[in-house]
């Protein structure tokens, strides 16, 4: 029995957003997706403490506030630091990976090139998180 998750997707590339939504609708999921085009936007969404997501999916390469900077802000916040954040990125840069784990992430997923590969990987991540016990902060 899948839980219905509220997911905050922080992604600047519109095609990536499209890919994400297409996969969700394909598997007929009931998850609610909040989209943010960049870190700033995400932060403003997260100001509303009454409607916080269960899971944040974060792209690292973004203009303005990049993913790692965003992560730092998040983890320094007394409330937001409890939100599980999974990094979705094209970069398998060792340095970035170490940095993310150091700050505190719930997962690090490298996006495969092939759409089909990406789709199967994403579905696994989502089903994993919907099988998790989640907290409300």
């Amino acid at each position: 029995m899948q839980k219905k998750l509220t997911i905050l997707l922080i992604e600047d590339d519109q095609i990536e957003v499209m890919k994400f939504n297409r996969i969700l609708s394909k598997i007929d999921s009931k998850h609610r997706v909040i989209e943010a085009n960049n870190g700033e936007e995400a932060l403003s969404i997260l100001e509303n403490k009454d409607d916080l997501p269960n899971l944040i999916l974060l792209d690292l390469n973004m203009p303005k506030i990049n993913g790692i900077e965003f992560l730092k802000i998040l983890k320094n916040d007394e409330i937001l630091k409890y939100l599980p954040t999974v990094v979705l990125t094209t970069s398998n840069n060792q340095k970035d990976m170490l940095e993310c784990y150091k700050i505190g992430i719930a997962g690090y997923m490298v996006k495969p090139l092939k759409y089909e590969d990406y789709q199967s990987k994403l579905i696994k991540v989502l089903s994993y998180w919907s099988a998790n016990e989640l907290i409300t902060v």
């Binding site: 590339d13 990536e16 499209m18 390469n61 090139l113």
Partner: protein, 788 residues
């Protein structure tokens, strides 16, 4: 019957009576004969008694006239007979009126002994050689010897003793004297420092050897008797010794004496003066040989030493740096040396100057001096005064300068001659001059030296400085001389100060340091300074010397280098970041293309038709290839020595891992040597390296049965890995080119042309070597050598 018996009895009686009568008659005759005999005997007895008396008188005469003293005594010692000689000995006249007891004459000390002897005498019947002292009437102590025996009466009862007494006082005295004399002789012999031997005919028949000789040679008499003199004669002296001995035996000589060496028992050499004298019998054969041996080792040694020291002295004089001339009181030359002849330009050896007249010699050689007449006058004056004069300076016409000492010599206050010594002092007189010349030369060198040189006194005041140093300070020379050096380098002007080394903590003057300061001309200067203490002749510190190297230029280059390095480092980091960003930016559109084409296929696949779908697939393939390319470029650019860590890498494990990871078609087999070594490297890089090579090997196999072999060889300093395939091979003209970026020979779909470049870059990173052997159509072997 009665009648018969009576008849017989009468006849019988008659007969027996007749018989008895006959016997009586014979007895009567016998008695008569006996009476005759008795008579005869009585007469004879009388005769004998007469004779006996006569004999007794004779014996008495003998007894009284016997040569030895005779005395007989009773058991208490009372004399009852004593002859005149005995009386003489005892000093007592004996007669019936004056009784004499011999026991009273015995010396009190011998009394006990005498009693014992007497007891023995009674026991054994006689005692000989009883010796004791007696005191005569006149009180003289005499020594007597008595041989005694017991006297008996007619009933064989002991009544006393008799003895023959001899006065041995003289005899013992003589004996003692003889002994004393022999002792004296022995003492003389044995304590004589000279060794003495007496031997019979043959040389080793030693009759007598005294202590000195046994001590000298170290052999005992018994040992010597087993040896011949030759045995302990030094080998070099044997011949000489034997020749002389031969002459002695032949009778040519009666005596010889020589200095020879003996070998002591200990093996040491003993020098001795030996004299051998032959004592001949009436036929002039040698009866005895007397030899005296005198130890002259010390004499010999001191003589040798004397000769040695004389030789030394002579050679010392001859090699003396000073010219020496010794004259006697008659002004004859006693000794001179080569240096003297040399100084005076005399062309004959110094030995031939001996006994020559020195006045003549000086007269002849006076012309070598600047003032010859004064020279001769001066000599005369010195000899007249006979006082020590040292250090007279003499100038020679050829420019030399001599120093002369005059020393008169006297023995027991009597003038015996004098000693001249001449020294060539030209050099030392000229020394100061040449020293100054040298100093000037070195000063010039120092002044023009690139190194700064500064001399300080104990107050740190500048005594001297060269041009370079002055230039470094930015002052004028006269501004700094006699000034405290610390004023030139004031604290507020010093920018940096690094102590390089301090040789001796106690001695602060030694050390080196580096500092940067602003000089008088406002220039920034970096100096490397090394200082050392300066000593005077007595070894006292009188200041210090500093050597200064201007390293301003070197320092600026160094700092430039540092800046450049930092920049480069930063650039590298930026570049790596850049590569990541670029690859992300390049990959994003590819990802979008991939997604979009997938959707195209999904959503509009039906309307695209077979041709359209095939094109879409091709687009996706190209996109994938593009991504691989980007990944490879990223990999290639991220191989950077600085950021990698090294660990122990088990190459067998890594390569087996690769075998399972890469796609291997079924007709290709991969063989891996199980003994592949453990090397020190970064595991990821080693994986990259072998993965590239092995994928290439597998990918380019065109045979029905493919074989890839991974092997290695251990060398002294490294390992050589080899990856061998039986693929298409690489033509030789490409061997060098294949390691360049984007050089792909292959037509393989996965080839990006970067794989071998990555391999090369990794090998280079570990200072390794890579090369290949290949034959077209047969296969290729790549070799990689890593240092251990």
């Amino acid at each position: 019957m009665k009648k018969f018996m009576s008849d017989i009895g009468i006849e019988e009686l008659k007969h027996s009576l007749q018989e008895k009568l006959k016997t009586l008659e014979t007895s009567e005759a016998k008695i008569i004969a006996l009476e005759k005999t008795i008579h005869k005997l009585t007469r004879e007895n009388e005769e004998l008694q007469k004779r006996c008396l006569q004999k007794e008188a004779e014996l008495k005469d003998v007894f009284e006239n016997v040569n030895d003293a005779f005395v007989s005594i009773d058991l208490k010692g009372n004399v009852f007979k004593m002859n005149d000689i005995a009386s003489d000995i005892f000093g007592y006249k004996y007669d019936e009126k004056n009784s004499l007891n011999l026991m009273k004459l015995v010396h009190p000390d011998d009394f006990e002994y005498t009693q014992k002897v007497f007891g023995k005498l009674v026991e054994e019947g006689s005692y000989s050689k009883y010796r004791s002292r007696i005191i005569t009437k006149s009180g003289i102590v005499k020594k007597i010897e008595v041989n005694s025996s017991l006297l008996f009466d007619s009933n064989k009862k002991i009544i006393g003793a008799q003895g023959i007494v001899r006065d041995i006082t003289q005899e013992i005295a003589v004996q003692k004297l003889l002994e004393a004399q022999k002792n004296q002789l022995d003492i003389i012999f044995n304590n004589s420092p000279i060794g003495i031997t007496l031997s019979e005919e043959k040389e080793n028949d030693f009759v007598f050897v005294n202590n000195s000789l046994t001590t000298m040679l170290g052999y005992s008499l018994a040992e010597l008797k087993k040896l011949k003199v030759t045995d302990f004669t030094h080998p070099e002296d044997r011949k000489k010794s034997n020749e002389l001995k031969e002459k002695l035996y032949n009778g040519e000589i009666d005596k010889f004496s020589l200095e020879k060496r003996y070998i002591q028992k200990s093996g040491n050499v003993l020098w001795a003066k030996t004299t051998v004298k032959a004592i001949r019998d009436e036929k002039s054969n040698i009866k005895f040989q007397v030899a005296t041996v005198e130890d002259i080792t010390e004499n010999k040694l001191s003589k040798e030493k004397l000769i040695e020291s004389e030789n030394r002295l002579t050679s010392l004089i001859s090699k003396l740096y000073s010219g020496v001339l010794l004259e006697n009181e008659k002004r004859e030359i006693v000794i001179s040396n080569e240096k003297f002849c040399d100084l005076f330009s005399i062309n004959i050896p110094p030995s031939s100057l001996k006994e020559k007249d020195s006045t003549k010699l000086f007269e002849e050689s006076k012309m070598i001096f600047e003032n010859p007449d004064y020279y001769i006058l001066r000599i005369k004056k010195l000899i007249k005064d006979k006082k020590v004069v040292l250090g007279d300076e003499l100038r020679l016409t050829d420019g030399r300068i001599l120093e002369r000492d005059y020393v008169p010599i006297s023995k027991d206050k009597e003038y015996k001659g004098h000693l001249w010594t001449y020294r060539d002092v030209t050099l030392s007189r000229n020394y100061r001059k040449s020293l100054e010349a040298h100093k000037k030369r070195y000063s010039n060198i120092i002044a023009n030296l690139q190194l700064g040189l500064v001399e300080l006194d104990n107050r740190n005041f500048i005594l001297s400085a060269n041009k370079s140093f002055v230039k470094m300070t930015g002052f004028e020379e006269d501004q700094i001389i006699e000034k405290d050096i610390r004023n030139l380098f004031k604290k507020d002007k010093i920018k940096e100060f690094i102590q390089k080394r301090s040789i001796n903590r106690k001695n602060r003057r030694s050390g080196s340091y580096e500092f940067k300061f602003i000089n008088n001309l406002n220039e920034e200067k970096s100096l490397l300074v090394s200082t050392a203490p300066n000593f005077n002749i007595r070894g006292e510190v009188i200041g210090s010397i500093g050597i200064i190297l201007d390293i301003t230029h070197i320092k600026s280059l160094e700092s430039q280098k540092e800046v450049l390095l930092k920049k480069l480092e930063q650039r590298n980091v930026e570049l790596e970041e850049y590569a990541h960003v670029v690859s992300h930016d390049l990959k994003s559109p590819l990802r979008s293309i991939s997604a979009l084409t997938s959707w195209l296929k999904e959503d509009y696949g039906d309307s695209l038709g077979d041709g359209g779908l095939k094109n879409v697939d091709l687009i996706q393939e190209v996109v994938e290839k593009m991504e691989r390319l980007i990944n490879d470029i990223l990999n290639y650019s991220s191989i950077n020595n600085d950021s990698d860590t090294t660990e122990e890498v088990n190459t067998y494990e890594v390569i087996t891992g690769i075998k399972n990871l890469i796609y291997t078609p079924k007709h290709v087999k991969i063989k891996i040597n199980k003994n592949l070594p453990i090397i020190k490297a970064n595991k990821v890089r080693i994986q990259q390296l072998f993965q590239n090579l092995m994928s290439n090997a597998v990918n380019y196999i065109d045979k029905k049965e493919g074989l890839v072999t991974v092997n290695f060889k251990e060398k002294k300093k490294g390992y050589v890995f080899s990856i061998k395939d039986n693929g298409i091979g690489i033509p030789e003209e490409y061997h060098a080119k294949i390691f360049e970026v984007f050089q792909s020979l292959g037509t393989h779909k996965d080839s990006t042309g970067i794989g071998l470049s990555i391999v090369k870059k990794i090998v280079d990173m570990y200072n390794g070597k890579i090369w290949l052997e290949s034959e077209k159509g047969k296969g290729t072997t790549f070799f990689i050598e890593f240092k251990k």
